[in-house]
Every structure is written in structure tokens, then in C-alpha cells.
């Protein structure tokens, strides 16, 4: 047995404060001195083609333009996916949909890539927060939940919400698949016979008293609630000002440095602007260019498309107005002086060619061209980038900004202005394969490759024959003239490159 004398004890006691101080310097802590905060704000289904920031004739985004005065503005930024799941997964992993395989509606990133997400790469020295108001974005955040320090449910900051999955947040995303995407999903009959009935009855009761201030309402209607911003399949009703207020409070609670990913539902359909915005652009004389219907489109006539566009533009203006308040508040608390602020979208929205929305496999710009603004801490001037960029570029860029190593597996590049260079000769892609299994070969898919100002689209498996379309985006930005010709060298070079990339990545999922 070791005996300790009184002298030994006193010597050890004298060393205790030094040992404690040493142990504290070695303990993992968030070192905020040099690392900047990062806020990624994603507006769902926001097409760059409908933003005055990018030259749209209707003044939809004066506050985005205000932010642009202190940002890097990317004019040719495209989503790698054509809807929420694939677009968001590409943004969060830096991989194209044919690689990460979150290609189905409400799907997930393949298990082999689940740890290759932005939150895991930032590591524990950042306070990492995720909010997916769109449940499909939440399904991805749920998959990455072990890498999140703060994980807000989709129903956060709502005025009326009822999500079963939120009761089992620890088991997200499975609980959301079971309850909100299946048993109690709106738009179909409830798949739980008794609780489904009670769930909808109670929610119907709660919607009766929803405050309509500022939104159109009719005293004789029992469905006024449909005029409040909401998700169409999930029981989430909210007001934009509440969401921004909640996000601001959340930002102030985060430990610095932080990485905050906030994915808002607006301006996704249903388009629900406040009363004061509804008629903002009515009879303004704006006539969008006429475009032919596409065989893969919905074949809608012009009138409903124009009406939907009018409502969408008004809703975008409403979103921009609320965003302006949010921006002012961020400024007032000095957050923009120590934060990289990224504003973007997961995919666009179409109002042309017989189509409203984005539930189609088409590869035209309105559905894929999305905004991207990055404001560096204390940035005072505007910088415009015109070369094409892709949502897979955001992950490597943010890693570089945070001083992290950019992994070799990412399919994106550093954005110009943040270590990258303007390079139009680089090929970037958008992929839609929502009709395929994420585990199998991609046999029904559409994809686009952009290079040197051209865009080649490829439609595979939708009809008896597959076909290509080629557009000159510089001289024909409205994509009215299909230039694809088997005898043309540009067509053939681009076709070979696209097919090589697709054949390399379209096989059954490995591992």
C-alpha cells in the first residue's frame, strides 16, 4: 500500500490549480476567436427568374437588392436537383443527386454518404443548428441529426401545427415518415382509422380560431385558414413574421461560432401573400414571353399560369418584405459584422410551357435557376459573378470559409470570390430521377449539363425514344430555340460528356 505523508499531500495540493487550468485548456471547447458564424437561409421553390434582383421586370425583391449591395451576387447559380429532396441534399452534401441518391420524393441520402454532410464536416467546434420547415428538408436533417447540436422541428414558430413526428423528435426522420408522411398526411384519407379522424377533427377545430389579421378572409367561409401560409400536406400554419422572429431569437441563443441552416417553406405553393401584396402587380402590363407547351408538361392553358405567376410574384414580394425586417434586425444586433450570410433556394418554380410549379421532370431555367447571395462579415460593396455555379459548390465554399479542409470526394468547387475562379468551361449538372429507386439503375431520368454558356438537356425513359435539347443560354436566355443536331460539333461534344458522366454515376448503388 502506498503511504502519503503530510508533505506529499501538500505538494500535490499545490499542483491542483495548475492541473485544473491545464485540463481546461485541453478540454474541447468552441473557440470563437477566429471562426466566423455562418447562416444559410434557404427559401423553398424560389426561382431566380422571378426576382427583380436578377432583372425580372416586376419589383419583387427590393430587400434582396439591398443585401446584394454588400454581397457577392451569383447570376448563373443552379440547383443540382429539381425539387426539395434532391436540391437540399446536394446543398448539404456537395454531391450531385446521382451520387447522394436522395432522388425520390421525401427520400434520404444513401447510408454511405449520410456522414458526408456539412454539419459533420464543420465538427463540434461549431454550434450547428438545423431547421427544416419543409418536412422533406427535415427528413434530411433528421438523417443528419447526430451532427446537429440544435435541431428544430418543422413546426417551430408556427401559429397552428400538429405533427406526430415532432413528438418523437429523437427518432426523426422515421417518426415523420410514420405519422406525418403516412398516417396523418393531409391531401389523402387518414391512414389511421380512429386517431386519424380525431387528429383532423381537432385540427379543424383549432383552425377555426386562426388569427386572419392581414390575410384575406370571408366571414361566410369556413376555409379562411387556407389563405394563411401553410404546407399543403403537413399540418403547419404560420406567419412569416413569426418565423423570422423565431429564427432571430434562435440565432441569439446559439453559441458562437455557429453554423445555422434555416430552410423556410415560403414561397412554395400554395402562394399565400398578405392582403396588401395580393394585387401588387395586377394590371401592371407585364407580359411574359410566350413559350410552347412541352410534351412532358401539364398542358395547362395560359390564363391559369398567368394568374399563378401573379400570385407567386406577390408572395415573393411579401417574403422579401419580411426578410427585409429580419435583415434590419440582424444588422441592429451587429450579427452581419461577424457572420457569413448565405441566401439561396433548393430549386425554382415554373410558370410557362403549360406548367405551374416544379413537379415535372423538365430542365428549363425557371425550375432550376436559383438565387445565391453571400455576404461576408462587414462586407460593404457588391461583387457580381456571372459564370455558372451550382448548389454543390456551397459546401466546399463554406468549409473553406470556416478554415476546414475541403474533402476530395465533394463534386463542387470553391465559388468565385471565396477562393474559386470564374470558369464557364466547367461542366455542372442538374439531375431529376424521382421515378427511379435510389438503390437501382437510373433508367427514367432527366438531366441538364451547362458548359460554355450552353445547356444540354437529356430526357431518358419518358417515351419510346430518348431525346436531347440544346440551348444557347447567352443568346437565347428564354430557351426558345432547340439547337440540338446530331451533325453539330457542340451538340456531339456536350452529348458525349453528359453521357460519360451519367453512365459513370447511374448504375445501382454500391455498398
Amino acid at each position: 500500500m502506498i503511504r502519503m505523508s503530510r508533505r506529499d499531500f501538500l505538494k500535490l495540493a499545490a499542483l491542483t490549480p495548475a492541473a485544473l487550468a491545464f485540463s481546461q485548456t485541453m478540454a474541447p471547447s468552441r473557440l470563437g476567436a477566429d471562426s466566423p458564424n455562418i447562416i444559410v437561409l434557404v427559401f423553398d421553390a424560389m426561382s431566380a427568374d422571378n426576382l427583380s434582383l436578377y432583372g425580372y421586370p416586376r419589383k419583387t425583391t427590393p430587400n434582396f437588392e439591398r443585401l446584394a449591395q454588400r454581397s457577392n451576387v451569383y447570376h448563373s447559380h443552379y440547383s443540382a436537383g429539381s425539387f426539395t429532396t434532391s436540391g437540399t441534399a446536394s446543398l448539404l452534401t456537395g454531391l450531385y443527386p446521382w451520387t447522394h441518391r436522395a432522388i425520390d420524393e421525401g427520400g434520404q441520402v444513401a447510408p454511405a454518404f449520410a456522414e458526408k454532410n456539412i454539419f459533420s464536416l464543420f465538427g463540434k467546434s461549431y454550434d450547428r443548428a438545423g431547421f427544416g420547415q419543409n418536412v422533406w428538408a427535415e427528413l434530411l436533417l433528421g438523417e443528419f441529426r447526430s451532427n446537429l447540436d440544435v435541431h428544430l422541428p418543422p413546426s417551430a414558430f408556427s401559429i397552428r401545427e400538429q405533427l406526430g413526428g415532432a413528438l418523437f423528435q429523437k427518432d426523426s426522420p422515421v417518426s415523420y415518415y410514420a405519422y406525418d408522411d403516412f398516417l396523418y398526411r393531409l391531401g389523402d384519407s387518414p391512414n389511421s382509422l380512429i386517431f386519424g379522424l380525431l387528429d383532423r377533427f381537432i385540427f379543424g377545430y383549432r383552425l377555426r380560431s386562426i388569427p386572419m389579421d392581414g390575410y384575406p378572409s370571408n366571414s361566410r367561409s369556413v376555409e379562411n385558414y387556407l389563405n394563411i401560409p401553410h404546407s399543403d400536406n403537413y399540418k403547419i400554419y404560420y406567419k412569416l413574421e413569426d418565423i423570422f422572429r423565431g429564427l432571430l431569437a434562435q440565432i441569439q441563443q446559439l453559441e458562437q461560432p455557429f453554423l445555422a441552416y434555416f430552410h423556410l417553406w415560403s414561397p412554395h405553393a400554395p402562394y399565400t401573400p398578405r392582403q396588401e401584396f395580393i394585387e401588387l402587380f395586377k394590371d401592371d402590363g407585364f407580359e411574359p414571353p410566350k413559350k410552347p407547351k412541352h410534351p412532358l408538361g401539364d398542358q395547362l392553358s395560359v390564363a391559369p399560369i398567368q394568374y399563378a405567376r401573379l400570385l407567386y410574384d406577390a408572395y415573393v414580394a411579401n417574403v422579401d418584405s419580411e426578410f427585409g425586417q429580419f435583415l434590419n434586425q440582424l444588422d441592429a444586433i451587429g450579427m452581419l459584422d461577424k457572420t457569413y450570410f448565405v441566401l439561396t433556394s433548393d430549386h425554382g418554380e415554373m410558370f410557362e410551357r403549360g406548367i405551374i410549379g416544379h413537379e415535372n421532370p423538365l430542365m428549363f431555367d425557371p425550375g432550376l435557376h436559383v438565387p445565391l447571395l453571400i455576404s461576408a462579415p462587414g462586407q460593404k460593396s457588391r461583387s457580381d459573378v456571372y459564370s455558372q455555379t451550382n448548389s454543390v459548390d456551397i459546401l466546399p465554399t463554406l468549409l473553406r470559409i470556416a478554415g476546414r479542409e475541403v474533402p476530395a470526394w465533394t463534386e463542387g468547387q470553391l465559388l468565385p470570390g471565396f477562393g474559386g475562379v470564374e470558369d464557364n468551361s466547367r461542366a455542372t449538372f442538374t439531375v431529376d430521377a424521382k421515378l427511379c429507386s435510389s438503390f437501382g439503375k437510373l433508367s427514367i431520368a432527366s438531366m441538364a449539363m451547362r458548359k460554355n454558356g450552353y445547356k444540354l438537356s437529356y430526357y431518358l425513359g419518358y417515351g419510346k425514344t430518348d431525346w436531347f435539347e440544346l440551348y444557347d443560354l447567352q443568346n437565347d436566355p428564354e430557351e426558345l430555340t432547340d439547337l440540338f443536331n446530331e451533325n453539330d460539333s457542340t451538340s456531339n461534344i456536350m452529348k458525349d460528356e453528359l453521357l460519360t458522366a451519367f453512365n459513370k454515376n447511374s448504375g445501382p448503388l454500391q455498398g
Binding site: R101, A102, I103, D104, E105, G106, G107, Q108, P111, F168, K170, D171, V174, S175, Y177, A178, Y179, F182, L183, L186, G187, D188, S189, P190, N191, S192, L193, I194, F195, G196, L197, R200, F201, F203, G204, Y205, L207, R208, V222, E223, Y225, K235, C436, S437, S438, F439
Partner: protein
């Protein structure tokens, strides 16, 4: 008369519960089988299994709720009217109400429909259920047929009860760890 005298015996409860299980679990499983190909497209089999655990656990509680409702009716009504023919009348009462709910749910989906329209359909549902329940105890042939069917349906409990227990354990464990 004491409450105990109006409570059905376990031997009477099982067949009625089996009918409830067939309808509640059946409704969910029917739609889940429609959804299954979509899940198979992007979810690993293990996660699909867990989703089914959530579904079965939910079905378990709603089937107990329905059974509780039938037992309450047995307590309220005179013993001769309900308790003595509990299997036939309980089964028909549960089935007629659950099938009516199915028909309603198949046709309506908006929360406002459920709050505003369902209460106006409820008297009709209860009237039909009442008439059928009365006939099930009154006409001997129907009573016998229902009893035979319900007692044979008990076999489903040998599957549903262990499965429900297992599902509950899975859900609890995944939300604790």
C-alpha cells in the same frame, strides 16, 4: 345491478376485439401496402420495419380505444340488451361504426370537413349502427353468423398482440436511447 355484472367476460371481449383489430389494423396495413413500393425505393428495410412498428403501435392504442367504447356501451345499456349478446351486438356495433368512418375518411380529407361535416354525419352513422346492432341480437341467424365469424377472428389476435408488444418495445427503445 353492479358494474361487474354488466362487464363482459374476457371470453366475450376477445371476439369483439378481434373484429376491431381486423378493421383498424387492416385499414392501416392496406394503405401501407400501397405505400410500400415507394418506401422500398429509398428506405433501407430496417427503417421500413421501424415505420411499421410505429404504425402497429398506433393501431394497438386505437383498437383499445374502440374496444373501450364498446365496453362503455355495455355498461350503459341494460344487461339483457347488450351484455348477454355482447359478442354479436358488440361486434356489429364496432364494425358498423368503423366501416362508416372508413367511408367518411375515403371521401373527405380537409380538416374543415372533419370539424364541420362529420358531426352532421354522426347521427346517421349512429342510427345505422343502432339498427344493425339491434338486428344482430334480435335475428338468431345473424347473431349466430356474427358469433361464428368473430370467434374465428380471434386467431388474428395471436398475431396482432405479440406484434403490437414488440412494436411498442421498439418505439420505446428508439426514443429512449
Amino acid at each position: 345491478m353492479s358494474i361487474k355484472n354488466k362487464l363482459p367476460s374476457l371470453a366475450q371481449v376477445y371476439p369483439v376485439y378481434a373484429i376491431i383489430v381486423i378493421l383498424t389494423y387492416g385499414w392501416t396495413i392496406y394503405w401501407a401496402l400501397w405505400k410500400l413500393p415507394s418506401w422500398l425505393d429509398f428506405l433501407p428495410l430496417g427503417e421500413i420495419g421501424v415505420i411499421f412498428c410505429y404504425l402497429v403501435a398506433t393501431n394497438f392504442f386505437e383498437s383499445l380505444l374502440a374496444l373501450f367504447g364498446v365496453i362503455i356501451v355495455s355498461l350503459v345499456l341494460p344487461r339483457k340488451w347488450f351484455r348477454e349478446v355482447f359478442v354479436s351486438r358488440g361486434s356489429v356495433l364496432a364494425a358498423s361504426i368503423l366501416i362508416s368512418i372508413m367511408i367518411f375518411e375515403y371521401h373527405f380529407d380537409k380538416p374543415s370537413d372533419y370539424f364541420y361535416k362529420f358531426p352532421s354525419y354522426l347521427p346517421l352513422i349512429l342510427l345505422i349502427a343502432g339498427v344493425l346492432t339491434f338486428l344482430a341480437g334480435w335475428i338468431r341467424m345473424i347473431r349466430k353468423a356474427v358469433e361464428v365469424f368473430a370467434e374465428n377472428a380471434v386467431i388474428f389476435l395471436f398475431i396482432s398482440l405479440p406484434l403490437s408488444l414488440l412494436s411498442l418495445i421498439v418505439v420505446i427503445v428508439r426514443n429512449i436511447i
